[in-house]
Symmetry: C2
Subunit: 412 residues, 2 copies
């Protein structure tokens, strides 16, 4: 198999060699393929709709959407058009364009828990700003964080502790996601110093089954925040606009005080947002957060168009429907071959893990076989569907799954 | 004067009112006009070359360049063309485009102290990553920071402490920029726990005269880092590519271990970079920093083109020459009217403060008169010149300065 991939990824492997000379480790962060099974391209040359091409011209039906941002598909023409129109006028000036107000208005209309908004670039900017607002508003320090939840890569939240000092995390108290008792223990530890609780929309930690939030758990978090005058923060960076366009907890009836958005908010154009409820507006106006590019008007134009499309077309329903078909099809195929798998999380953000799969050996083989058939799955990070995915894409994917699952059933 | 501005900024003032409903305080961060004298537009509608337009159609010759990024001028056609070409292929995929390697190679060729590079979005991402790499490499915690220097808006460095907790800054030790004795005191405080020293390219703190670095001071910082096995960090976010395209300290003969770039690196397209020397490459490969949009290929295309232009045309010489003419002209005019002013810092990044000007009352009036004549100056933040500025722009600006300075001489 490696041989075959060597041939398929000739340019990619050559460029990786060169990259090592100029980039520490050849690449950084979540897009580094070093932890992925052999056969993943490091670099890409082209993307359109649901398809992505590597440097060697191999085309894949992509189920990662750039790790989330491409909710409408790559190179959405309407979004690009809106960006071009805005760029003809202004991208970055000495202040924002009028779009900043339009976008803040739009997101407050769209998202239930948004009475106001401010914008940044990274998801990490948004989650960090949520912590700062919480502390500004409450005058307290402690933040409750679920073990293993990803909230970004600033020192307080990066999953790799190298270069992080203890003071970066000394005001965090950890608990188990979806475990109300554990949350209450953390609350007690915080005592009178509880500033806030931050939670991802659902449990989408890598390398384990995803879990939708228990309603009672979210209600417990809300109750604690109400009781202790603390701030309930929804980190909707990864899931935002894929579960519910009005905010990922709307169906649970639990209202966060602050929500961090990014990823899908501008279909790949760099933008993040903090939105919040009225009672935190004053505190949000008193902190100082900023960045050289936080006011790029093109990203705001992209976001306005993206959110309009999400409103007008029922994107959530589309990706739920296709994701569900994909899930059912995979379930059927696995069943047929007697392979035990776990499909978890919302169908729009699927994750497939194999039973009894220490070291992800089955999962790795599975995605390698899929790659060889032109399907880009991830072995242990949740995947993403987009509006550009079609029923035909799902059918083609299921054909490849049939092939890969058969191999797995024979090899393990 | 306010009346006149009310008329000039009708749409702007109306939109500010609306903004207050949807954005905390009506705006956030460094682009908020609340601290500026009356008469500054909050919003902009158009920008081209050295000109910027507000919502009411008023056109200004702009000396802020979007607070730095626009080093080639707004809407540089070559940069936009490179962006468009790349976007036709790929912006954000599941990994970077090949441009990430091209750009890392280019910047290591261009910048003296760069053996490798990695890329991010915000200047703050880059400075924070420099701290993390320093701590990872040394296993130590303390960072020496000059009082009043701006390194970004993360909790460890934001100039407004609201929402910041003491642990965010408890590993920083402060000293006075350009004061070697003060640096040595800080070094002693750090003891054996010194991880690094971070310094802006020169002292460009707001609201005070700028200071170029003393060679002996930079040498002292270098010496301390060498002696204590600590990391010398150059925060070249604001000054990068305007003083010397090969790094802002090249002319001082002092080589930083890490350099943070952003702002001008992509002529307004969002990008930042950390570059470093070989001995820190391993540590840089071991930390985990990332962001959803750090691999946008369009920003890398913009940067490649921007850096090529900076290499090919002597942009530094151009903006130095014009900045110097502007400075000399202003000096002459102030002299003629007997107004005492201080022009400080490199001519490419001018700052003009008035003698005996508590509360910036003279400076504020001065920039208001300039605004009324279509010149966008800043009263207390360093300004920026770009390749798009022309000798004619300088002449027109000096005409307006003549008018404004005369007013100042009569009113104070």
């Amino acid at each position: 198999m490696n041989k075959q991939h060597d041939t398929k990824l000739k340019n990619d492997l050559l460029l990786r060699k060169k990259a090592e000379a100029f980039i520490p480790g050849g690449m950084w962060g979540h897009m580094h393929v070093k932890k992925l099974p052999y056969g993943y391209p490091q670099f890409f040359s082209k993307a359109k709709g649901s398809r992505i091409w590597d440097l060697d011209g191999n085309c894949y039906i992509d189920f990662m959407c750039g790790y989330g941002p491409n909710i409408l598909g790559y190179k959405n023409a309407d979004v690009d058009h809106a960006v071009n129109e805005q760029r003809e006028k202004l991208d970055l000036g000495n202040g924002p364009s009028a779009l900043v107000v339009d976008l803040a208005e739009k997101i407050t209309m769209l998202v239930d828990s948004a009475d106001w908004a401010l914008f940044a670039k990274n998801g990490t900017d948004a989650t960090t700003t949520c912590l700062t607002i919480s502390r500004a508003a409450t005058g307290k320090k402690k933040i409750l964080v679920a073990k293993g939840s990803y909230h970004g890569s600033a020192p307080w939240c990066t999953p790799v502790a190298t270069g992080v000092v203890e003071e970066d995390t000394s005001n965090l108290i950890f608990f188990e996601y979806n475990d109300s008792a554990s949350l209450e223990v953390a609350e007690k530890k915080a005592g009178v110093d509880l500033a806030g609780i931050i939670l991802t929309a659902f449990r989408h930690d890598v390398r384990r089954d995803q879990e939708l939030p228990k309603k009672t758990f979210l209600e417990k978090a809300r109750e604690i925040c109400d009781k202790k005058n603390a701030v309930l923060i929804l980190d909707d960076v990864r899931a935002g606009f894929r579960l519910n366009k009005r905010g990922s907890w709307v169906d649970y009836g639990v209202k966060p005080d602050l929500t961090a958005f990014s990823k899908a908010i501008g279909n790949g154009y760099p933008l993040s947002a903090v939105v919040g409820v009225d009672k935190l507006k004053q505190a949000a106006s008193e902190i100082y957060v900023t960045g050289s590019f936080w006011c790029n008007a093109t990203s705001m134009a992209a976001s306005l168009k993206t959110l309009s499309i999400i409103e007008e077309i029922d994107v959530v329903a589309h990706i739920y429907y296709l994701g569900n078909n994909l899930r059912n099809g995979i379930h059927q195929i696995a069943n047929n071959f007697g392979v035990e798998i776990f499909q978890s999380g919302p169908p729009q953000m699927p994750l497939i893990l194999f039973e009894d799969d220490k070291g992800f050996s089955k999962g790795s083989k599975f995605v390698q076989y899929l790659l060889s058939k032109g399907i880009y799955f991830h072995p242990w990070h949740n995947m993403f569907l987009s509006l550009a995915h079609t029923a035909e894409d799902v059918d083609m994917t299921l054909d490849a799954v049939e092939y890969a699952m058969k191999k797995i059933s024979l090899e393990f």
